[in-house]
Structures are given as structure tokens and as C-alpha cells.
């Protein structure tokens, strides 16, 4: 960890100003990923803008009937918030599937979006990594890539985005509100994270100095039929190999609307409009789910140690859709798959 200066901003404007007033700044919310990366010398900011005094912790209903989640509200406060639990249980389940109670008490909603990949090579300065050091090469390709991407990867990077919360936010079509020197703008969730392409050092589409101030959930919460299913190498406190956010709106046994997003498989939460289209208007049967699963992994490519993810994703999608169709009671709040 290199030396840095730190200010604790009292307002969003002050934070944004302070950020741009220094050479190599970073915002620090909960700090759970940034300090981890700084101790590994992967991140080396020389100035930190502390966000934990900002008045961005509220969770409130919007005029459109949606829910606005403050950027510095913690993941725990969000997951257990009565409105989130009642109206967006998919989001609650996804947050609670991630990290640990301690980390969820620290991690902020904005920070969750800013998490960087868990790729072993990204974290280890002894190995080349294009995301950490553009142009140095991707060690995960041809290396140990059990946790790596099967969809949307590039020859420069096969990292995955590690968040659970973001998978649910993608499925729920959240909107990210950001503030920069040029004022406030809104970013559709699917446009927030990016695929690695030839610039894997860029995880998202934020411009320099922009600060996430809120996440807005649209009115539709799929609170009746949902499932966040996460598969990992131990029951809890581990990153996903594959996760599925499934949300259905049913009319009897017919699917009226559907959302499907995958975690652990790509550089961003992975949505497949084609798969969702295959669900809409169809009977909520295993046959339908299988078709959607197949469409979701269309074009998937294994890298060796992660080949299994393709079949695992198919099966997890079918299971999550079954759980969703069966209704919220099919899973408990943690859905940690322990019988």
C-alpha cells in the first residue's frame, strides 16, 4: 500500500471536486475491495475521497413507484430493508448470497458495482495481466481458469465480474445515477459494466471522477416468482462459479414476462434477450426452461478448467427458473442450496 492523503467529503459536490483536485484519486465507500487491492499493490491511488459522511444512505420510493437505493447505503441495510424484502426479494436474496455479514455491513451499494475481478492473475503482481497492466498479456488464458468467463470474453481478458448483487440489478433493469463535474447522468444497468474487448482495464463506462450516487429500481419487482441461485465451492462466503437471477411474471402457468441474468460467467452480469424472449408467452415448464437455458449459453466458450461452467450454467438456469415458477417459498432468504 502506497502513501496517500485522505479527505472525508461532506457533500457529493465536494467529493467530486476533491476527486478531480488530485492526480490519482479513488473514492472509498466501505473500502472492502479497494483496501484489499491497495494492500496487494494492485490499486495505487495517492488520494482517497472518503464517502462515509455523504448523505446517500437513504432507501426511498420514487415518484414512478420504484425504489431509489442510496449509493452509500450498506449492502446489509439494503438487503434487509422492508421495502427491498417485500418488493425486490430477488435483490435481497442476491445480496445475502454474497460475501459475509461483516462485509455486507461495510460494503456500499455503489461500491458493489465497482468491485474488481477475483482473477488470480489480476491479484498477483508476479504474473502478467492485461487488466492490471495493459499490454502485458492474459495469464488466465492457458492457465488456471476455473473461475473465469465462458461468455463475452476476449483474447485480452477472460475475467469475470464477482458481484452477486449486480446480477439481480441487471435482471431488475436498475438504473445507475452518477454525478461528475458535468452534472448528473443516468446509466442503464446493462450499459454500466462492459465486456473486456481490447480494453480490459476498464470495468465500466464511468468517466473519470464520476461518482455513483444512487441505484434506481423500476416499479416491477417480480416479488412473487424469483430465485437467486448461486453455485460455489463451499456453502457460503465464496464467490460464484455460476449464479442465476431468475424472475418471472406468471399468468396462471403462462409466463408473461421474464428476466434472466447470469453471474460468474462473464466480465459483466450476463443477460440474454433471446433467452428471455423464449420464455415470454410460453408455459412455465421444464421444456421451456431448457430452451431458455440453451439460448443463454449460446456462444459460450470454455477455457479448459472452466469448461464445466457451460453445462453447469444450463442446469442452474433450469433449476432457478423452476424455483422461480414455484414461487418465493421455494427458496429461503439465503437459498444456499443446503438441503
Amino acid at each position: 500500500m502506497n502513501p496517500f492523503t485522505l479527505t472525508r467529503a461532506e457533500s457529493v459536490d465536494a467529493a467530486v471536486r476533491d476527486f478531480s483536485g488530485h492526480d490519482s484519486s479513488a473514492y472509498i465507500g466501505g473500502g472492502t475491495n479497494l483496501l484489499d487491492l491497495m494492500k496487494e499493490n494492485v490499486a495505487r491511488p495517492t488520494h482517497l475521497v472518503g464517502l462515509n459522511k455523504l448523505p446517500l444512505t437513504s432507501i426511498e420510493t420514487t415518484a414512478e413507484g420504484g425504489l431509489r437505493l442510496g449509493a452509500t447505503a450498506t449492502n446489509a441495510d439494503t438487503a434487509w430493508h422492508p421495502d427491498v424484502q417485500a418488493r425486490y426479494p430477488l435483490l435481497s436474496q442476491a445480496i445475502l448470497a454474497g460475501a459475509s455479514p461483516q462485509l455486507r455491513n461495510m460494503a456500499t451499494n455503489g461500491g458493489n458495482l465497482m468491485q474488481r475481478t477475483r482473477c488470480y492473475y489480476f491479484y498477483d503482481l508476479a504474473t502478467p495481466c492485461n487488466k492490471r497492466e495493459p499490454g502485458s498479456g492474459c495469464s488466465a488464458i492457458g492457465g488456471y481458469n476455473r473461475i473465469h468467463a465462458i461468455l463475452g470474453a476476449s483474447e485480452q481478458c477472460i475475467a469475470t465480474h464477482p458481484s452477486d448483487m449486480c446480477v439481480a440489478l441487471a435482471a431488475l433493469e436498475a438504473v445507475v445515477h452518477v454525478r461528475g463535474n458535468g452534472g448528473e447522468r443516468r446509466i442503464k444497468f446493462e450499459d454500466f459494466h462492459r465486456l473486456p474487448g481490447d480494453a480490459p482495464e476498464q470495468d465500466n463506462t464511468l468517466k473519470a471522477g464520476e461518482l455513483i450516487v444512487a441505484l434506481e429500481l423500476p416499479k416491477k419487482g417480480f416479488e412473487k416468482n424469483f430465485s437467486y441461485l448461486k453455485l460455489r465451492d463451499r456453502t457460503s462466503y465464496a464467490f460464484a462459479l455460476v449464479s442465476v437471477a431468475a424472475a418471472l411474471e406468471l399468468d396462471g402457468t403462462t409466463i408473461r414476462d421474464a428476466r434472466l441474468a447470469l453471474g460468474g460467467v462473464a466480465h459483466k452480469p450476463w443477460r440474454s434477450p433471446a433467452a428471455e424472449d423464449l420464455l415470454k408467452g410460453q408455459p412455465a415448464t421444464e421444456a421451456t426452461f431448457r430452451k431458455a437455458a440453451e439460448a443463454s449459453v449460446e456462444g459460450a466458450v470454455g477455457q479448459g478448467a472452466n469448461d464445466f461452467k457451460i453445462e453447469l450454467a444450463r442446469r442452474a438456469i433450469v433449476r432457478a427458473l423452476k424455483q422461480a415458477a414455484a414461487g418465493g417459498k421455494a427458496t429461503n432468504v439465503f437459498n444456499n442450496s443446503n438441503p
Partner: protein, 177 residues
């Protein structure tokens, strides 16, 4: 792979950041410390405030040994900076109870032999207090899940479950089966 590797510029040489007075409220007492921004809360407790009950097991939020309570909520003290906790109410294992005046969780951990080497124990106990404060664990499975942020390499999980359950039971009107 062979060849000569040129030194990677790991970073520039910068002077150490100056330390400044920071007041941390720990276990109900103000501690006036001289800290630079790069000191984690965990290191501030162990190396500057002399409170070594809080443990360093990984320094990366991957084990839970450093768990303390900040304003009643359990956090990993290794992943926050001490200066960011100025003004907060910090409780460590030393503040929960002492020899001769044990906290119910501490007594339950002894009774159920909920530890072996003891290194994860302060974090487990602070985490359990956080779990009780949260009030979300009503079944054995929920206790297991919500105590999963604390690794015990000795594998004392059965004892930990039973110890936490005993104290949760006493505090709850009814524990769902």
C-alpha cells in the same frame, strides 16, 4: 519461461504520510492516537492502541478473525481505515467482557468448547454479538449461515453453533424450529 526480467516499476518512492492526531472511541474510552491515513482499524487496535484481542488472520476480509463492532454492527476491521472510524463507537473483544466478568457469549464459548487454538475466537464472539444485534438468525441453519463470515481452521463449528444458539435462545422469545 526464462530470460532476464527487468525490474517492474512497482511504484514510485514517496515519503511516508504524516501521522496526525486521531481520537478513536474504543470500548467506551477515547484513545488519542497518532495515525497516518494508511493505518487500518485493525492495525490501529493491535499496534497503536495495544488492544491485541482483535486478530489478524488474513488482512483481506477473507477470514473474519478481525471482526469488531462499530456502532453495534460487526465489520472486518482489516478493511477499513482507522481515520474513517473517528467518531464511531468501536467495541472489541476486550470491551465485551473480561476474566471474572465474562459476557454470556464468552461463557457459552467456554462451556461448549467452541474453539481450540483460540485465534479466531474473539472475531467469532464479536460476530455472534453482531448477529444477535441484527436479530435475523432464528434457526440453526440461519445461525450457521450468518456465522459463515468467520473461519475456524480448527473446525470448532459445532461448538460455535451451540454456543451462539444458547445465547440467541435466551434472548429470543421463541426460536423457530
Amino acid at each position: 519461461m526464462s530470460g532476464t526480467s527487468t525490474p517492474k516499476s512497482a511504484g514510485q518512492s514517496l515519503p511516508p504520510p504524516p501521522a496526525a492526531p486521531v481520537t478513536l472511541r474504543i470500548n467506551g474510552q477515547d484513545h488519542h492516537l497518532e495515525l497516518a491515513p494508511w493505518t487500518s482499524l485493525l492495525d490501529a487496535l493491535r499496534e497503536y492502541a495495544g488492544l491485541t484481542g482483535t486478530k489478524k488472520g488474513c488482512d483481506h476480509g477473507q477470514c473474519g478473525a478481525c471482526t469488531v463492532l462499530v456502532d453495534g454492527k460487526r465489520i472486518n476491521s482489516c478493511l477499513t481505515l482507522a481515520v474513517l472510524q473517528e467518531g464511531a463507537d468501536i467495541t472489541t473483544i476486550e470491551g465485551l467482557g473480561q476474566e471474572g466478568n465474562l459476557h454470556p457469549l464468552q461463557q457459552a464459548f467456554i462451556d461448549h468448547d467452541a474453539f481450540q487454538c483460540g485465534y479466531c475466537t474473539p472475531g467469532q464472539i464479536c460476530s455472534a454479538q453482531g448477529l444477535i444485534n441484527e436479530g435475523k438468525a432464528h434457526t440453526e441453519d440461519e445461525i450457521r449461515e450468518l456465522m459463515s463470515g468467520n473461519i475456524c481452521r480448527c473446525g470448532a463449528y459445532v461448538g460455535i453453533l451451540n454456543a451462539v444458539k444458547e445465547v440467541v435462545d435466551k434472548k429470543s422469545i421463541a426460536l423457530r424450529s
